[in-house]
Amino acid sequence: MHAGPDLYSIRIDGRLGITALSAFPAMVHHVDGRETVLTGLLKDRSALFGVLAEVEALGLELIEIRRIRPERRSGGRGDDRSADLWWG
C-alpha cells in the first residue's frame, strides 16, 4: 500500500470559473476543450476524498480521476510513468 502524497488529475465537465477554482487551492487547472483538469499533489486518501466531496458539493460533474504515480528511480520496467485510471 503506497503511503504518502500522490499526484492526481481530476477531470470535470465544464469550465471552472474563478470562484469554483478557489475551492481547490491545492490544485492547478488547465482547460481541455469544454473540460477542466485539476492537477495536484494530495497528501493522502482523506485529502482525495475531501476534494471529491467538494466536487460533489459544488454540483460539478466528475468525468475522470487519475492517479499519476511518481517517477520511478531505477530499474524501471519500461514505462516510467504508469497511470491507474478510474473512470468516474
Binding site: G14, G17, T19, A57, G59
Partner: protein, 939 residues
C-alpha cells in the same frame, strides 16, 4: 415569539435556535405560498410519492440542486387528512446521533400531536437502540399513516447512524413509512427492501426536468421565451432543477432574455457557477453584501444578518429573497430564521473568501459573540475557532463545559476538541478541563483524573481573574469523579471550595456559582446518600434540586430527585414513595423515563413496594429499573438494584436466584472506596441465603473478614441466627439474636427487628416453647404493622410459624390474615369458614382497606397506596361498613378493634414523623452509624 424583527428574548431565541439548529421543523415546512412561487408542481413526481408512501421506504437520491427538497416540500404542502408528516432536516455535518434521533422523535411527536413539544433536553447517556425502539413504538401508536421524511440524510455522519437507521427501518410498523432524501446513496442496506418490493427509488433521472416541464417552469416564472430558447435552456442545463431555477431568476425582468439564453448556451462555464454569478450580479449591493457575509453561518435571522452585513434591513431582504424563490428558505412559521440552499451558500463562501478574505475572521468573531450572548455555546466556540482565535476558543469551551455537558452535548464537545490544532493543549491548559469532562462522561476515570491533575498544575499560570473559576471547575469535576467511585474522603476534600455560597461581585461569578453549585450539590448529596449520611444527603439533594429547578438544569434536578426517595429516619415510607413518583414523573416530562438517570428512583420504589408485599407490582418496577439502568450504571445504584431483586427472589423462596443477586451486590460494593449504606444488609442476606441453600459453611465463610463496623450490625446477627437454625441449634440462634432483641445491637432499620422476631419465633418453635413463639410472632406483627412490612415474613419462610399462633391471641388479625393469605398464594376466592367467622366475613381485599381506616388517609390516598381505583375502595368500604354493622369510618374502626382485627395502638402514617412506640421495643441507634430507614422507631 413577537413579530417585531429585532426583539427576541433569550428564551425565544434559545428555543428557536435549538429547533432550527436541529432541523426540527416538523410542524411547518414552508408557509403556504412561499414554496409555491416559481416552483413547478411536478404532478407525475408527486403522484409517484403518493404511491410510494404505501410502501415502507422511499429513497430520493440525487446530486445537489436536483430539486429533492422542493419536491418534498410541495408534496407535504398538499396535506391530506389521512396522513401525518414528520419532517426532519439534518443539519450540516451532524456527527451527534443523539441530537439527530431527538429531532426525529420531536418531529414525530409534533406530527402526532402527542405531548407538548417541549425542548428536548438530552442527558449524557445515550442508548441508541432504546431510542429507536421508542420511536418505533410511538409510530405504532399512531393509527393514521405517518410519513417520516429525513432530508439531507448525507449530512448525518455520526458513527453507527447507518446501523441505527437500519434498525428503525426493520422495526417500522405498517402504519408508518420513511422517505429518505440524500445526495448520495446511503450506507444502509436497502437490498432486502428492494427485493421485497417495499422500496421506491426516485433518482436524478426522474428528477430531471423534461423539455415540456422546462417550458412550464419558464412560463410559471413569468418569463417569455420561444420554444427554441426554452429547448436551449433545457439542453444546457440538462434539466438540472437548480440550473433552471437560477436561470429563471435571472431571466425574470431581464431586459434581453434572448441574449441571456444565447450567452448562457454559448458559455463553457459550469452551469451552477455561471448562473449563481449571474444571479448575484443582478442583486442590489445591499443584498449581495448580505448574502456574502451571512454565508459563514448555517442559519440566519434579521438581527444576525444586520450584524454581519453591517447594515439594517436584513429581514426584509431575506423575506423578499424567499418570496422570489431565490434559494433562500425560511425555517419556521413566523419566517424569522432562514437558510440558504447548500449550493448557494457554498459558492457564497468561496466568493467571500476570494473577494474579502481579510473580513472573514472578524465576521466569525461577530457571529461568535452574537451566539454566545444568546447562550448558543457550540456555535460560539465553532466560530471562534473558525476565526483562528484558539486561546479564546479554549477559554470559551472551558467556561461553558458544564452547561454543555449537562445539556448532553458530549459528542459536540468531542468534535469541538478535535477541531483544535495539534499541540494546542499544551498551550491551553484550560482545554484539559474539557478533556476531563469527556473522559468522565465516557467512564474513563483514570484518564479523567490525569487531565484534572494537568489542569490543576496550570492554575498558577492562569491569569488571576480566571483562577477562581478554574479552581471551582476543577473542584466540581473532582466531585463528579469522587461520586462515581463513592470516594467520600476525596469528596469531602473538595467541599471546602464549593461549600461557601458564591458572593462574588461579577454576575459571571454568580452564574458560574449557580451552575457549578447545582452539580456540586448533586454529587455531594448522592455520595453522602450511599455513604450512609442520610441527613446531610437529604439536605444537599433538596438544595440541589431546588437550585437546578430555578436556574434550569433539568438533568441535575431529576438526578437529585431520583435519589431523594430513599426511605430513612427523616423520610417515611410514604414520603419516600411520593418522592420517587415525583422524580419519575419529572423524568417522564423530559422523555427520560427509561434512562439511567431515573434508575435509582425506580429501584427504590421497587424496593419499598416489595417490602410491603406487593410482589407483582414490585416486579414491574424492577423490570423498569433494570431496563433504565442498562448502558450506564454507577456501582452504588447497582447495589440497590441487586438487593431489591434479591429480595423479590427470596420472597418467592427462589434462593438460588436470590443468592446470585446478593453476590452481585456484594461484588458491586467492593468496587467502591467507601462503605455502602446497604452493606450490612447485603452481607447479612448473602450469608443467610447460603445457609438456606444448605451450605452453612459458605455462609460462615462469607461472614469472616467483614469490616469491624459492619460485623457489629444487627443484620449480621440475624444471619448468624439463620445459620444456627439451619445447623439445628436453636439455642445458639437465640443467643445470636440477643443483641437485636434487646436493642443493644445497632440496626439499619426496623425491618431487621421484624426479621429477628420471626427468627426467634422459629427458634422457640424448635425448642417446643409455643408460648414464646407466639409472643415473638406477635412482636413481629406489631413492628410490621405501621408500614406493612410483609417481606420479612416471606423471606424467613415463616408460614408454619404463623399457623402456630392462636388467632385469638393476636391484636393484628387483619394483618395476619393478609400475610397468611399472601404466603399461601393468595386464595381470595374461597375463604374457609373459620377464617371467615373470625374475620367477620371480610375478604382479604377488604381487610387490606380496613387496615388503613385508622389512618388519616383520604379515600383517594388509600386508593393510591393500594393501586386501586377510588371506586373500588368505595365498594370495599361499603362492604366493610355493612359487614361490621358500622355507620361510618370511626365506628368501623372501633368495631374492628373489638374484633381484634385491628390493634388498639393508634398510629397514623402521614402525621409528623414522630415515632410512636410500637411493640415493646425501642431502637437505639448509636450516633455514628447508619441511620434507620423507618420512622416507626423511637427517637
Amino acid at each position: 415569539m413577537t413579530s417585531s424583527p429585532e426583539v427576541y428574548t433569550v428564551g425565544d431565541v434559545r428555543e428557536l435556535v435549538n429547533t432550527v439548529r436541529n432541523g426540527r421543523n416538523g410542524d411547518l415546512i414552508a408557509p403556504a405560498g412561499s414554496a409555491g412561487q416559481g416552483l413547478l408542481r411536478r404532478e407525475d413526481l408527486l403522484a409517484t410519492l403518493d404511491h410510494a408512501v404505501a410502501g415502507r421506504v422511499t429513497i430520493i437520491s440525487a446530486p445537489p440542486g436536483s430539486g429533492k427538497t422542493s419536491l418534498l416540500r410541495t408534496w407535504v404542502e398538499r396535506s391530506r387528512d389521512d396522513r401525518r408528516v414528520a419532517f426532519v432536516s439534518v443539519p450540516r455535518d451532524e456527527r451527534d446521533a443523539q441530537q439527530f434521533w431527538l429531532a426525529v422523535l420531536d418531529a414525530i411527536r409534533r406530527a402526532t400531536g402527542t405531548s407538548p413539544p417541549a425542548i428536548q433536553t438530552s442527558p449524557p447517556a445515550f442508548d441508541a437502540d432504546a431510542m429507536v425502539d421508542r420511536i418505533a413504538s410511538e409510530l405504532a401508536e399512531e393509527p393514521k399513516l405517518l410519513v417520516l421524511i429525513i432530508d439531507d440524510l448525507h449530512e448525518l455522519s455520526a458513527p453507527d447512524a447507518a446501523a441505527q437507521l437500519e434498525r428503525l427501518l426493520a422495526h417500522l410498523p405498517s402504519s408508518a413509512c420513511v422517505v429518505l432524501s440524500t445526495r448520495r446513496d446511503p450506507r444502509i442496506r436497502l437490498h432486502q427492501l428492494r427485493l421485497a418490493g417495499e422500496l421506491t427509488e426516485i433518482r436524478a433521472a426522474e428528477l430531471r426536468f423534461s423539455e415540456r416541464e422546462t417550458r412550464a417552469l419558464v412560463e410559471a416564472s413569468g418569463v417569455r421565451l420561444s420554444d427554441r430558447e426554452a429547448a436551449a435552456l433545457h439542453q444546457r442545463t440538462e434539466g438540472w432543477a437548480a440550473g433552471l431555477r437560477l436561470a429563471a431568476l435571472s431571466l425574470r425582468g431581464h431586459a434581453d432574455p434572448e441574449r441571456f439564453v444565447a450567452e448562457f448556451s454559448g458559455s463553457d462555464t459550469t452551469v451552477g457557477e455561471y448562473l449563481i454569478a449571474e444571479m448575484l450580479e443582478r442583486q442590489p449591493d445591499d443584498v449581495q453584501s448580505l448574502l456574502l457575509r451571512t454565508s459563514i453561518v448555517d442559519r440566519v435571522n434579521g438581527e444576525l444578518g444586520n450584524l454581519l452585513a453591517g447594515h439594517l434591513g436584513s429581514e426584509r431582504i431575506l423575506l423578499e429573497l424567499e418570496d422570489a424563490n431565490a434559494f433562500v428558505v425560511s425555517l419556521d412559521a413566523q419566517r424569522t430564521w432562514f437558510r440558504y440552499h447548500q449550493l448557494l451558500s457554498d459558492f457564497l463562501r468561496l466568493e467571500l473568501r476570494r473577494t474579502a478574505a481579510d473580513e472573514v475572521p472578524d465576521l466569525h468573531r461577530r457571529a461568535a459573540a452574537w451566539f454566545l450572548q444568546r447562550g448558543h455555546l457550540v456555535e460560539a466556540v465553532q466560530h471562534t475557532q473558525a476565526a483562528g482565535d484558539w486561546s479564546e476558543a479554549a477559554r470559551m469551551l472551558a467556561d461553558h463545559i458544564f452547561t454543555l455537558a449537562m445539556e448532553g452535548h458530549a459528542a459536540r464537545i468531542e468534535t469541538l476538541l478535535a477541531s483544535f490544532p495539534q499541540g494546542v493543549s499544551a498551550e491551553q491548559p484550560e482545554l484539559a478541563l474539557a478533556f476531563a469532562v469527556t473522559e468522565l462522561l465516557q467512564g474513563r476515570l483514570d484518564e479523567a483524573a490525569a487531565q484534572l491533575r494537568l489542569a490543576e498544575s496550570h492554575i498558577e499560570n492562569t491569569a488571576p481573574e480566571r483562577r477562581y473559576r478554574l479552581t471551582v471547575a476543577i473542584a466540581a469535576l473532582r466531585l463528579e469523579h469522587a461520586r462515581r467511585s463513592v470516594n467520600l474522603s476525596d469528596l469531602l476534600e473538595q467541599i471546602g471550595v464549593l461549600a461557601a455560597p458564591v458572593t462574588g461581585e461579577s454576575t459571571e461569578q454568580i452564574e458560574l456559582g449557580g451552575e457549578l453549585r447545582g452539580v456540586a450539590l448533586m454529587n455531594l448529596g448522592i455520595t453522602e446518600l450511599w455513604s450512609g449520611r442520610l441527613a446531610e444527603a437529604e439536605r444537599h439533594l433538596l438544595e440541589g434540586a431546588t437550585l437546578a429547578e430555578r436556574i434550569g438544569q433539568p438533568y441535575v434536578e431529576v438526578t437529585c430527585r431520583a435519589h431523594l426517595g430513599f426511605p430513612s429516619k427523616l423520610c417515611s415510607f410514604a414520603t419516600a414513595r411520593e418522592r420517587c413518583r415525583e422524580a419519575i414523573a419529572l423524568a417522564e416530562q423530559h422523555g427520560w423515563e427509561a434512562l439511567p438517570v431515573i434508575a435509582p428512583a425506580l429501584a427504590t420504589l421497587a424496593g419499598t413496594t416489595i417490602w410491603m408485599g406487593e410482589f407483582a407490582e414490585g416486579e414491574r418496577w424492577l423490570r423498569r429499573a433494570w431496563k433504565a439502568a442498562e448502558g450506564d450504571f454507577e456501582p452504588a445504584s447497582a447495589v440497590l438494584l441487586h438487593v431489591a431483586t434479591g429480595m423479590l427472589h427470596s420472597a418467592g423462596q427462589q434462593n438460588q436466584l436470590a443468592l446470585a443477586e446478593f453476590e452481585a451486590a456484594d461484588q458491586m460494593q467492593s468496587i467502591l472506596m467507601g462503605e455502602h449504606v446497604l452493606a450490612p444488609q447485603v452481607s447479612g442476606w448473602l450469608a443467610a441465603t447460603h445457609a438456606r441453600l444448605g451450605t452453612p459453611d459458605k455462609a460462615h465463610a462469607s461472614l469472616t473478614g467483614l469490616p469491624a463496623e459492619r460485623a457489629r450490625m444487627g443484620e449480621i446477627d440475624n444471619a448468624r441466627a439463620v445459620i444456627c437454625l439451619v445447623e439445628g441449634d436453636p439455642t445458639a440462634a437465640l443467643e445470636a439474636l440477643r443483641g437485636v432483641l434487646e436493642a443493644t445491637a445497632p440496626v439499619m432499620h426496623s425491618f431487621t427487628l421484624v426479621e429477628a422476631d420471626l427468627l426467634a419465633g422459629q427458634a422457640y418453635l424448635e425448642l417446643g416453647d409455643r408460648r414464646a413463639a407466639g409472643a415473638a410472632v406477635e412482636a413481629a406483627l406489631a413492628s410490621a404493622e405501621p408500614d406493612r412490612l410483609i417481606l420479612p415474613f416471606a423471606m424467613t419462610g415463616s408460614l408454619r410459624l404463623l399457623e402456630v399462633l392462636p388467632r385469638h391471641q393476636t391484636a393484628h388479625g387483619a394483618l395476619l390474615f393478609e400475610i397468611v393469605d399472601l404466603l399461601r398464594g393468595g386464595s381470595a376466592t374461597n375463604p374457609d369458614t373459620e377464617r371467615s367467622r373470625e374475620s367477620a366475613g371480610l375478604s382479604p381485599s377488604e381487610l387490606r382497606v380496613l387496615r388503613y381506616l385508622p389512618t388519616n388517609l383520604t379515600r383517594s390516598e388509600i386508593a393510591q397506596e393500594l393501586y386501586l381505583s377510588v371506586n373500588t375502595v368505595n365498594t370495599h368500604l361499603r362492604n366493610i361498613y355493612s359487614k361490621l354493622g358500622a355507620r361510618d369510618r370511626s365506628a368501623a374502626v372501633q368495631r374492628a378493634r373489638r374484633l381484634r382485627l385491628l390493634s388498639a395502638a393508634p398510629f397514623s402514617r402521614l402525621q409528623n414523623d414522630r415515632a410512636t412506640a410500637v411493640g415493646a421495643r425501642a431502637i437505639v441507634v448509636p450516633p455514628k452509624t447508619i441511620t434507620t430507614f423507618r420512622r416507626c422507631s423511637v427517637t
